[in-house]
Every structure is written in structure tokens, then in C-alpha cells.
Symmetry: C2
Subunit: 409 residues, 2 copies
């Protein structure tokens, strides 16, 4: 049961001019499954992308990085589920390239203009022949209004599709933003990958797209954690189709750049948070906000120490306001000169610790009340400076162990 | 059920000349519990100790560090269970000092000659009056043969006491080594602390003791992990009573120093591994050995990434030879220039991955056979150099969640 997450309503998702999406059943791993999705981009789209830092990154990640770096305009993305094409060596690269070549031929573009993505079982050969055979049906299905269908098409063990949309005024023009994501653990039982795709019809110069993708990912997908495991296939791609009626954004520092980024970040955060809400065995959605650090980095470090601690996560599951576990995680986060007597802790509005010790006014039942909620904010005040950072996570339940201890077959 | 661990037999533990141990029931938290242990050291003992790196370290850790640094010869250690005296601020320091003063008076030594240790609930005031009241009984109980009794006296939620002993020849003299440890998670539900105490009658110059303690901890207690959480109270103390009939060891680099350290390391590793074997919900004991790194540090980093991954640990619990999870953990361990095509993986004798891909000769049933064992060695070959490091851990079971999600009361 996802935490406060509903399936998207197709009519609520704005189509993006210049993007058509098609979904097909290619039988990659199982029959009768929507397992192949193509994004077809009109000429003139600007594209940026960021990828997993895992050194065991999958073949499609390596190819997508290479194609983005080639500087050739991207014209399509192809996503298969059922097989991650990870841990597959040189043969995996050949198969990922073959998929790009097949789609490029049908679209009459160069293979370097295609970005491939795969998600599913690891260390099995990609059945690229079946993917190729499925491409015509996916292309024939392509429509601007197929975002909800795509959100379903990229699901693996997600319990719900994830899609969000927004509009914003840029220099007098109404600009639309729509995105989809998938993922439920960084790695599901032998399934890999968190994927995010966003598009806008805003006009953004290609030179700005990598920075935009990186900053959006940093404020959203790079701020969530379920179990601390980093997938081999994580990818996040941002497309600007340049169809809207406003002058191109050439720097994110401009008023238009800021406005667009803020609106896109809102959608990206919802997409990233949806992955946590649908996290393996999640029963609660936790916001960990760390304030008063010397730098944003140290705030984030402390937030992740809390968000990754199995002891803190099981305490959330148990609705146990276990201050000691949270404070201990702050203590081992790796800030060498941290002074424990400067630290305050809040659970939502409840002030539980003052200057490193229990707040005399704190009553256990108040902590208990907050811990029973399905949405909880942990606020840590480090008392060292003005920096702030936030991470989103979920609790750690019996269901997590059950899901991940199930044998793969 | 601990993994292949038995309670110590008192008769198998060598007494250490110059060390007497007494245990009493002080009613720190509950009545009728052996919760107070004193180690009384003859004059002339050399003592070294290492402590938690957690910035939220407990009051007794701060005092023990201070007393060791004062250079005054240590004459006693006092350990209470039931209360960790952690997260207790300035008041906690006062209470820990009061305990030292009380014991020092009874022994007619200075308070700086006492090392205090506490383990139990966090953020509750230490009932130092009850501890003081219990000291005479603990002192009256003191005997050289009480190591097994001490192993019981320092237990909190451990399911078994932990004690090991060895003898070694140093320059023609038979030297004895005995140690005890406690701990079952880095932090139990609101219980804290991994503790280790070792003593030998060997002759070791005081100037060598800190280095000896650090090197022993580095090769044992600093190589184990259950859930990645670092306690506020972890302490490891080494005593050499200088009673044996050999010339004092003034450097660990000497043949005698090496022989003593090797023998002590054997005991320290058993003590540390016993904590993993008795880990919360553990059903398997896992040795993660990483070879072929450029440095020992990077081998250890990879070993910890594997040992901390909830996905890897649940796969062990499920006896699932899930190669993808182990390789993915290697990939995200943080070695920036790691080449995935150089990596081999073994489960015991079974060669599962070759050069980053599945070994063609690997059969799933062979991996399965190893994963079903109660003791498993994961061997990762990085193919980058000659360094090696090893970490010991346990699996991650439903029982872990049950133990840690139980409400504290």
C-alpha cells in the first residue's frame, strides 16, 4: 500500500507539444505486458540527462551518456522493462546499440539520436530481437496524450504508475511540464532502476539542458532514499521541445530560467517522492530536514545518516519516538567537529531534544502522536550555521524483508 | 539463536595475574540482575583503550578518554548495565565522575585511575547512588577466576555471554590472554553499546598500549557490522598486567611484540565475531573478503558497502545467490575509477562472476548450495592491486525488524 499516493488521472496530465509517446507489448520477459515505450521528439528539442553513479552501470546507461555527449540532437527515447541489460559486459553494449540502430532506421535518424533505457532483471542477455519486433507497434501507438500510458509502460514492481504535471507562465506564454517516474526500491529483488522522464514545451537553449537536468535531479531524485542501495540503471532525462511562444532561455540565472526551473522542480519532487511513497514495504513518508549546518553538504550528510539508519527506520515503522536512535545517527554522520550540546530535535511541531539532551517539557505521548502519523517531518537543528537541506525517505517494515527475501523466481 | 556460538566454559578461561573481577546486583534498572562489574588491577598495569567515533558519545566515554589521557596509572574499571548515561549532558558527566570518585575512595586511589563504562537505556539519568551502594559487594566478590561471571555481568540484550582465552609463548614465558565482549546490534532498542575488555599478564610498556589497543580494534571490532549504526558508548580496553616472566615489550615491531599482538588479535577477533554471531535476528555469519584493491582502505570500503546493503543482507537471509545485488554494491562503494570489467566474485569456492559478468560455468544450484550454509564467505576480486581486507557481518531477517520495532517499554 503506497503512502498517500494515487494513480494519475490521464486527463490531468498536460500533453507536451513536440512529444509523442507510444507503448507496446513486446514480450521482453513475459507475454501480454506493456513493456516497451517510445518517446518521439520533434526536431529542435533540447535534451539533458543524468545517470547513476554506480560503477557497475548498465549498458543502456553507458550508451545514453555517450549519445548525449555526442551533441547530435536527440529524436527518440526507447525504454524496455523486463530486462535491465546490466552486468552483461560487451555483449550488453552490442545489444543496446542494436536497439538504437533498429529504432533509428524506422525514424530515419542516426543511432546517436536515440537514448535507450532498460529496467528489469540483471545479468540476463537483453532480448533485443523481441524489442526490435515490437518497435513498429510502439511507434504506431504514439500520441501526445499518452503520458499516463507511458507511466504504466515503464513500471516493473511499482504498485502504482507515477505521473505529475504543471503549468507556468514564462515571459507571457503558458508553458506545460509533464513527467513520469518508476522505481520502488533502488533495486527490487533482482529488478533494477529508478527512472524519471520529464518534458516541457518551454524554449531552452541546448547548452543549458545538462545543468537543468542536474539541478532538477539534485533537488528531487538525489534527495530520496529507500534502502541506500544505488541502482545500476538510474536515469533522469529532461526534454524541452522549444514549442512555446517565448524567447529561448539561455541561462538558468534569468527570471524566466528561475521560474521554469522552480515549476519543473515542483514536478520532479513529486515524481521522486512518489517513488518513496511506493517504496518497498513503506507505511510512512518521512521528511528529514536538517537546519543550521555550516554547509548544505553537511546538512545532507546528517539527513542521509538518519534516513539510512535501519534502527531509525524500524522505529518509524513501530511509531516509537526513539530519540536516542535519531541523535545517535546525527552523531555518527561524519561531522568531525560536531558539538552534541548544540543540537535540537523536533518531530513535526514537538520539540523533543534541546541542546543534545531531552527537552524537559517533552512528553512521550506527544512524540508518540506524531510518530503514528503517515507523514512525519524530522527536524534537526545543528546550531553551527545557516545551511539547510532535506531528504525524503520511508520506514522499514516486515514487508520490506518479505519482498526482498522472496526468491527471485 | 546465535550463529554457531556457545556460552563460554569458565574453566577454559585463563585467569590473568594482576586482574581481579567482581560482579554485583546493584538494581540499576531492574532488581535481581548482575548489573555491576568491577575490574581491579594490581599496581603496574599498562592500559590502552579506543572509543566510539560517534560525536554523541556518552558521558562515561568522555571520562574514560580523559582519564586515560591523564597518564595516571589505571587501577580499576567499573561497568554498569541498565543505563548508558548517553544523551545526558553536563549532568551525565557529573554522575559518571561521582561513580569514579566513589570507587576511588574505596580503593584508596585517585578518581583519574578509574575508567567508567555504562550500557543500557539512553537519555535517562544514571542512578549513580545505586551504583555506589553496590560497589562494596562488587569489590568483595573480586576474584581472578571471574571472567565468565564478568561476561554475564556486562550483558544487556545479548542472548549469550562472550568470552575467549588463549596462551602464547613470549621470550620463553607462557603468557595468558583473556577477553570478554558484549553487544548484539550497534544499538539495541534504546540500548546502546558494544564493549570489549581484554587483559594479558604479558609485560608491555605503557607507551605501547594505545597503539596495541588501536591495532587490535582495527583488526577485530572495527571490522564487524550488524546494521551500520555506530553506538554512542562503544569502548574497547586492553590491559597488560606486566606479571609474566619476560622483558617488557617496548615496540610492537619486535618479534615478541608481533607474537603477542597476533595472539591477542586472535582473541579480539573471536570476541568481535561473537557479537555478529549474536547479532539481532542473525541466522548466518558472513565473511566479506575483498582482494586485489589498490589500498586496504578501498577494499574495506567495498566490503562495508556489501556488508551494509539491506538488499544483500536480505538475499543472504533468503539463501538467494543474488549476484546482481552484490555487484551493484561493489559498484556504488565509491571507488571513482573502478572498472567493472575487472571484477570477479566467489561465494565460498563457487566462481559466480568473471570480469564483471556471469561466469559461463556457474550453475545457480552451486550458488544456492553455498547460500544455504550458516557460514558463508563472499570473495570479491577487484583486479586493481595487491591489497586485501575483510569484514564480518550477519544477514538481515524478519526477526531484526521485530526486535527493533518492539516498543521500548
Amino acid at each position: 500500500m503506497p503512502v498517500n499516493l494515487l494513480a494519475p488521472v490521464a486527463a490531468d496530465l498536460h500533453p507536451i507539444a513536440g512529444v509523442r509517446i507510444g507503448v507496446a507489448e513486446a514480450g521482453v520477459r513475459k507475454a501480454n505486458r506493456k513493456d516497451l515505450t517510445v518517446f518521439l521528439l520533434d526536431e529542435g528539442a533540447s535534451v539533458g540527462g543524468v545517470f547513476t553513479q554506480n560503477r557497475f552501470c548498465a549498458a543502456p546507461v553507458q550508451i545514453s551518456r555517450e549519445h548525449l555527449a555526442s551533441g547530435q540532437p536527440i529524436r527518440a527515447m526507447v525504454i524496455n522493462t523486463g530486462n535491465a541489460n546490466a552486468g552483461t559486459g560487451a555483449d550488453g553494449l552490442v545489444r543496446a546499440r542494436a536497439t538504437c540502430i533498429a529504432l533509428a532506421r524506422q525514424l530515419n535518424v542516426a543511432p546517436e539520436q536515440i537514448l535507450p533505457f532498460s529496467t528489469g532483471v540483471i545479468m540476463e542477455p537483453l532480448p533485443h530481437d523481441r524489442i526490435e519486433a515490437g518497435l513498429p507497434a510502439a511507434i504506431a501507438d504514439a500520441q501526445p496524450g499518452h503520458w499516463a500510458r507511458a507511466a504504466e509502460g515503464i513500471m516493473t514492481t511499482d504498485t502504482l504508475p507515477k505521473a505529475f504535471s504543471a503549468q507556468v507562465q514564462i515571459a507571457g506564454a503558458t508553458v506545460s511540464i509533464t513527467g513520469i517516474s518508476k522505481g520502488a526500491g533502488m533495486i527490487r529483488p533482482n529488478m533494477a532502476t529508478m527512472l524519471g522522464f520529464m518534458a516541457t514545451d518551454a524554449c531552452v537553449h541546448p547548452s543549458v539542458m545538462q545543468q537543468l537536468a542536474r539541478e532538477l535531479a539534485d533537488g528531487s531524485f538525489n534527495r530520496v532514499t529507500i534502502d541506500g542501495d544505488t541502482s545500476t540503471n538510474d536515469s533522469f532525462v529532461v526534454v524541452a521541445t522549444n514549442k512555446a511562444a517565448h524567447a529561448p532561455i539561455t541561462t538558468l540565472a534569468s527570471a524566466e530560467g528561475q521560474a521554469l526551473k522552480a515549476a519543473m522542480l515542483g514536478v520532479a519532487q513529486k515524481l521522486a517522492q512518489a517513488i518513496v511513497r511506493d517504496g518497498e514495504g513503506a507505511t510512512k513518508f518521512i521528511t528529514v530536514r536538517v537546519e543550521g549546518g555550516k554547509t548544505g553538504d553537511e546538512c545532507r550528510q546528517v539527513a542521509y545518516a538518519i534516513a539510512h539508519s535501519p534502527l531509525v527506520k524500524t522505529a518509524f515503522y513501530a511509531s516509537d519516538p526513539n530519540l536516542g536512535r535519531i541523535l545517535a545517527a546525527v552523531g555518527y554522520a561524519g561531522i568531525a567537529d560536531l558539538d552534541q550540546t548544540g543540537i535540537d530535535l523536533y518531530l513535526d511541531d514537538v520539540h523533543v531534544a534541546v541542546k543534545g539532551g531531552r527537552n524537559a517539557a517533552y512528553r512521550e505521548e506527544d512524540g508518540q502522536r506524531v510518530m503514528k502519523q503517515s507523514e512525519i517531518t524530522v527536524r534537526v537543528l545543528l546550531g553551527r550555521g545557516d545551511a539547510v537541506d532535506t531528504v525524503w525517505t520511508c520506514d522499514f517494515s516486515h514487508e520490506y524483508v518479505t519482498i526482498n527475501a522472496d526468491y527471485r523466481s
